[in-house]
C-alpha cells in the first residue's frame, strides 16, 4: 500500500496550505448474459484523488498512474493548478469535522472476494427461471455483477479513515415472440451480498411479464389515473429531487426549491429521507467522500421541505453543519448529492390502487426520465411498459407514451395514494404511487 502520510506531507512541503487524499480501490466482477453466460470479466483499479488548497485557491487531480513518477507528476500538477486558480471567495477550508458512523452489513467479505466462477450459480438460476414465468419466454440480455469499493480518506486535519462497501446486482431482459409480435420485459435486483440476490423471483417475473406485453398496443393521448410502479418512482426520484435539494444548486440559483425551507412542497403523504447511515438501505456508508460522518437526514417531512443536503463547502458557506452528503469521484471535487433517497412507504396495496383507477395506467417501466428538468421541475418519462386499467381492472398493455407534468404537482395535488410495496435499489428506495389526472401523450 502507498504511504499516504508521506504524500500528504509532500504536498504541504510543496506549498499547499491544506491537502486531502482520497484513495479508492474498486473491484468489479461481472458476467454478461445472453441466453447463456456469454462473457465474464474481472477489473481491479486503484485511484488516487488529490485535493490541495493554497489559501482560497483549490485544485483537484486524480490519477490511476500510481507509479512513483505518476504520483510525483500528479502532486506537482495539483500545486501548479492551485497556484494559477483565482481565489474562491466562499472557500473556508476542507472538512474539519472528520468522523464516521459505524455501520454493520454494508460489506460482505464473500462478495468482495467472489470470482467470476462463483457467480455462475446465480446467473444460471436467473436464466433458467425465465421459462418458468412463461414457457415460450427466452432471456435476451442480462448481467450478474459484484462490486467492492474501498476508500481511505486522509487530510491535513485528520485521518486516515477507512471504509468498504460491497454490492451485488443482477439484471435480465426476456422476450416472447408470438405470430410476429414481440413482448419484452426487464427487471433487476441489488443487494449487499450476491448470496441475497433473488434470481428466481426476477427470472419468473420477467418471463411472465414479457408475455403480457406481446399484445401491447399504442396509447391514446389523454388524462389518466397513473400508478407509477415502485421501480419507476425509484428512477424518477433521484433525477427530480436529487439536484433540487443540493445546497450547491440552491446557493448558485438553480433549483426550484430556493427559499422553500419549511414550506409544503409535496403532498403530506410524502416523506423523503437521505438514508446515508441506514444500513438497511443501499448506498449507505460510514463516512462521506470528505471524511464526514453520514446521517439519516429527513429532507421532506409529510410534504414539508426540512433541509437541503450539504457538503462542507456549502455548509461552511452558510455557517451550518454538513449533512454528510459529499459525493465525488477520484478525479473531481465533492458536491452535495443524496447518498440514498428513501421515500417512506404508505399503507395502500397495489391492488387497491388498481381498484381505485377509472381510466388508468400502471406504469411498469420508463426510459429517458433523466431528461427531465430538475430546475423547472418538469418531469418527462417515456413509457416502455404499462398496464391499461379500466374501471378498476387491468385490461391490456401499452408500450409507448410520454408522461409529462410538473413533479411538484404530480407528487402534491395530484397524488392520491402511496403504496406499501417498498422496493430498494442502489440510489433510491420507494413504494408505488398513484396520481390522478396525469397528461400522457401517445398516438
Amino acid at each position: 500500500m502507498m504511504d499516504l502520510e508521506k504524500i500528504l506531507n509532500k504536498l504541504l512541503s510543496l506549498g499547499a496550505s491544506e491537502a486531502e487524499l482520497y484513495l479508492v480501490k474498486s473491484r468489479e466482477v461481472s458476467l454478461d448474459l445472453t441466453q447463456v453466460i456469454s462473457k465474464a470479466r474481472t477489473s481491479e483499479v486503484t485511484s488516487l484523488g488529490i485535493r490541495v488548497a493554497i489559501g482560497k485557491s483549490v485544485a483537484t487531480v486524480g490519477t490511476q498512474d500510481l507509479s512513483e513518477k505518476g504520483v510525483e507528476e500528479a502532486l506537482s500538477k495539483a500545486i501548479a493548478i492551485a497556484k494559477t486558480t483565482p481565489p474562491d471567495e466562499h472557500w473556508v477550508s476542507f472538512n474539519k469535522e472528520i468522523g464516521f458512523k459505524p455501520l454493520n452489513g454494508v460489506y460482505d467479505k464473500g462478495t468482495a472476494e467472489a470470482s467470476a466462477e462463483d457467480l455462475v450459480g446465480v446467473a444460471e438460476e436467473l436464466l433458467n427461471s425465465v421459462k418458468e414465468g412463461f414457457k415460450e419466454a427466452i432471456p435476451v440480455r442480462g448481467a450478474v455483477t459484484t462490486s467492492t469499493h474501498e476508500v481511505i480518506y486522509l487530510s491535513s486535519y485528520d485521518g486516515p479513515l477507512k471504509r468498504a462497501e460491497t454490492a451485488a446486482g443482477l439484471y435480465i431482459m426476456a422476450k416472447v415472440e408470438e405470430a410476429g409480435k414481440v413482448g419484452t420485459y426487464g427487471e433487476r435486483d441489488v443487494k449487499r451480498s450476491f448470496k441475497d440476490l433473488e434470481p428466481r423471483k426476477v427470472g419468473v417475473e420477467v418471463g411472465s411479464r414479457a408475455k403480457d406485453f406481446v399484445d401491447a398496443t399504442s396509447l391514446e393521448t389523454g388524462d389518466y389515473d397513473v400508478i407509477l410502479h415502485n421501480d419507476v418512482v425509484i428512477a424518477i426520484l433521484p433525477v427530480m429531487l436529487g439536484p433540487a435539494v443540493s445546497a450547491l444548486n440552491i446557493q448558485q440559483g438553480r433549483s426550484p426549491l430556493i427559499g422553500k425551507k419549511n414550506v409544503k412542497i409535496l403532498s403530506d403523504l410524502i416523506t423523503v429521507v437521505d438514508g446515508g447511515a441506514d444500513s438497511s438501505l443501499l448506498g449507505s456508508k460510514e463516512f462521506d467522500d470528505e471524511g464526514c460522518a453520514t446521517n439519516n437526514t429527513v429532507i421532506v417531512d409529510k410534504g414539508v421541505l426540512k433541509t437541503y443536503l450539504y457538503d462542507s463547502y456549502t455548509a461552511y458557506r452558510e455557517g451550518v453543519k454538513s449533512t454528510g452528503n459529499a459525493v465525488r469521484t477520484y478525479s473531481a471535487s465533492p458536491t452535495p448529492q443524496p447518498n440514498h433517497l428513501h421515500l417512506r412507504p404508505g399503507d395502500s396495496s397495489l391492488e387497491e390502487m388498481i381498484k381505485e383507477s377509472r381510466k388508468g395506467l400502471l406504469v411498469m417501466s420508463t426510459i429517458g426520465e433523466w431528461l427531465s428538468n430538475s430546475i423547472s421541475g418538469h418531469l418527462n418519462a417515456t413509457i416502455t411498459h404499462a398496464y391499461v386499467i379500466k374501471e378498476g381492472e387491468v385490461v391490456g398493455t401499452v408500450k409507448n407514451g410520454v408522461i409529462s407534468g410538473n413533479f411538484y404537482e404530480l407528487l402534491n395535488v395530484k397524488l392520491a395514494m402511496v403504496g406499501k410495496d417498498l422496493r430498494i435499489l442502489y440510489r433510491a428506495s420507494a413504494p408505488s404511487l398513484m396520481m390522478r389526472e396525469v397528461r400522457v401523450a401517445g398516438k
Binding site: 465474464a40 498512474d65 418527462n380
Partner: protein, 461 residues
C-alpha cells in the same frame, strides 16, 4: 511498456489461449468549470493501465489492471482465463490479417504547451459574458481537454496505436422570469489542438446561450401529440444515434434484442435515407481503429432506405456472417470492447433547408442545441430524447419558440416517415458527453442534414 505487453501476449499463448489481445491506454482529462464567476473546479485526471482479453477453450474472458508490472500483467492474464472459464458461450472470432500502424490526429498547438492562466482566462471570461445577459441567474462554463493514447496488440498480429486530442467548451445558462426558471446549454468540441479554442470568441458563444435561455423562459410548451417536424442536423444526429444506431449494433442484433434482426436487404426507411458509420469524418470523434485492433472504415448501414449492414466486432461478425466493421470499442482499459457506434450519421439528400420548412403547414422545427440527450429501448423499438428550445412552424414559416420539447416514437416508423432530406451536412462530437451501453461510456459523433419527418410524437414539458 511494449515489452511487457508482448510478454503478456506470450503468457496467454503459453497458457493455451487461442486468441489474446492486450491493450495499453494512457489518458488525461482536464476540466475547468466556472460557476457564477468563480473557478469552482480545475481538475486533471491521469489514467494508465492494461486490459487483457482472451479466448480460452472457445470462451471469452477479460481482466484489467493499472499496476503496470510484469507480475500484475501476468495475473491479469490468469484472471482473464478464470473469467473465460465462468463463461458458457462458445464463440468463434473472425480473425483477420494483423494490421500495423500509427495514427495521430492533427493539431497545430499542443494543449500541453498552453499555460494554466490562458485556460483559466478563457473559462472565466466566457462565464462572465454568460452572466451579463439580463434575467440570467446562473452561468456554468466548462472547458474540457482530453488526450488519449491507445495501443492494441493481438495474437493475430495487429499492432496499432493512436493519439488524439479532443477539446471543447460548454455553457449552461439558467434564466429566471416571474417565478419560472429555464436552463439552456450548448457545447462545441473538436478533435484538434488549442487553436480550436484560441480562434473563436467564446464570450460571444456563452452570451448567445444566455440570450436563448432568456427567450426560452418566456416561451410556451409545445402542443402534445403527433406533429410534422423538421429536425436540424444535431437533432437528426441524436435521433439516428439513439433510435437507429443502437439497433444496428451487431451484439443486439445477434442476441435478438434489436428490432433489425433478420431484416438485411429489407426496405426499412424512406428511399431518401442513407446512413453510415465512419471512424474518420470532419467534426466527428477520432476512431482510426477499434480496441480489438480492427481498422475502422466507413460502414454503410442503410443505402436508399434498404438495410445493408450492421456494426460488428470480431465476435458478432462471425455470428452474423458479416465483415468486421471495426466497431469493437471499449470505454477504457478497465472494460472489454463491445460493439459501439463511432460517428453515425445520415448522408445528405437534395432538399434545400427552406424547401423542407415550406412543406409544413403546422409543425415543429426541432433544434438539437440545448438537448439533454436521449435513450432507446431497442427491444420495444421505442426511443425518447429532449430537443433544445425549438420553434413551431406555421404555414411554412418559422414561428414562436417553444421550450421543454420531448420527442419519442418508434424507430422504424420514424425512418419510414422521412419525407425529405436536406443537402446540408454537419457531424459533431463532444468532450463532455459520452454514450452509455452496458455500463460503458464512449465518445461518439453524430449528425446529418436537415430532415422532414411526419407524425413525430411530441410531449411538451
Amino acid at each position: 511498456m511494449l515489452e511487457l505487453i508482448n510478454k503478456a501476449l506470450k503468457k496467454a499463448e503459453i497458457l493455451g489461449c487461442s486468441y489474446a489481445e492486450v491493450r495499453f491506454q494512457r489518458y488525461s482529462y482536464e476540466l475547468l468549470m466556472a460557476d457564477n464567476k468563480i473557478l469552482k473546479e480545475h481538475s486533471r485526471t491521469f489514467r494508465a493501465g492494461v486490459g487483457v482479453r482472451v479466448l480460452y477453450n472457445g470462451r471469452l474472458g477479460f481482466a484489467s489492471t493499472n499496476d503496470l508490472t510484469l507480475e500484475s500483467l501476468e495475473r491479469a492474464v490468469s484472471q482473464a482465463i478464470s473469467s473465460a472459464k465462468a463463461s458458457k458461450e462458445v464463440v468463434e472470432l473472425n480473425i483477420l490479417n494483423g494490421r500495423k500502424g500509427r495514427f495521430h490526429a492533427q493539431f497545430k498547438i499542443d494543449v500541453d504547451d498552453v499555460s494554466e492562466e490562458d485556460k483559466v482566462s478563457v473559462v472565466l471570461e466566457a462565464n462572465k459574458a454568460g452572466l451579463e445577459v439580463e434575467g440570467v441567474k446562473s452561468s456554468v462554463t466548462r472547458l474540457g481537454i482530453q488526450k488519449d493514447f491507445r495501443y492494441v496488440a493481438t495474437s493475430d498480429g495487429s499492432e496499432l496505436e493512436y493519439t488524439s486530442t479532443l477539446l471543447g467548451l460548454s455553457q449552461l445558462s439558467i434564466a429566471y422570469e416571474a417565478g419560472r426558471m429555464e436552463r439552456v446549454s450548448n457545447q462545441e468540441s473538436y478533435v484538434a489542438g488549442w487553436e480550436f479554442i484560441k480562434n473563436r470568441n467564446w464570450s460571444e458563444f456563452a452570451s448567445e446561450v444566455s440570450k436563448l435561455a432568456r427567450e426560452t423562459v418566456k416561451a410556451h410548451l409545445p402542443p402534445s401529440g403527433r406533429l410534422t417536424a423538421v429536425a436540424d442536423p444535431e437533432m437528426v444526429g441524436l435521433i439516428l444515434h439513439e433510435a437507429f444506431g443502437h439497433a444496428s449494433e451487431g451484439d443486439l442484433v445477434a442476441s435478438g434484442a434489436s428490432i433489425l434482426k433478420g431484416r438485411l436487404g429489407e426496405t426499412i426507411a424512406s428511399h431518401q435515407v442513407s446512413i453510415v458509420d465512419d471512424g474518420l469524418v470532419e467534426g466527428g470523434y477520432y476512431v482510426p481503429f477499434d480496441d480489438e485492433g480492427n481498422i475502422k472504415e466507413k460502414t454503410v448501414v442503410v443505402d436508399k432506405g434498404v438495410l445493408k449492414g450492421f456494426l460488428t466486432n470480431k465476435e458478432t461478425a462471425k455470428k452474423l456472417n458479416l465483415p468486421v466493421s471495426g466497431n469493437g470499442r471499449a470505454q477504457d482499459f478497465v472494460n472489454p470492447p463491445i460493439v459501439r457506434q463511432t460517428n453515425f450519421y445520415m448522408l445528405p439528400g437534395d432538399w434545400g433547408v427552406e424547401e423542407l420548412i415550406r412543406e409544413v403547414k403546422f409543425g415543429i422545427y426541432l433544434v438539437g442545441r440545448g438537448s439533454f440527450g436521449g435513450q432507446v429501448h431497442t427491444g420495444a423499438g421505442t426511443f425518447t430524447f429532449s430537443a433544445g428550445p425549438s420553434r413551431l412552424i406555421r404555414n411554412g414559416e418559422l414561428a414562436e419558440v417553444v421550450r421543454g420539447v420531448v420527442v419519442s416514437g418508434s424507430i422504424l416508423e420514424t425512418l419510414k416517415n422521412v419525407m425529405g432530406v436536406g443537402k446540408d451536412l454537419r457531424v459533431r462530437t463532444s468532450v463532455f458527453g459520452r454514450c452509455g451501453k452496458d455500463g460503458q461510456m464512449v465518445r461518439v459523433g453524430d449528425g446529418g442534414p436537415h430532415v422532414l419527418i411526419k407524425d413525430v410524437i411530441i410531449g411538451g414539458g
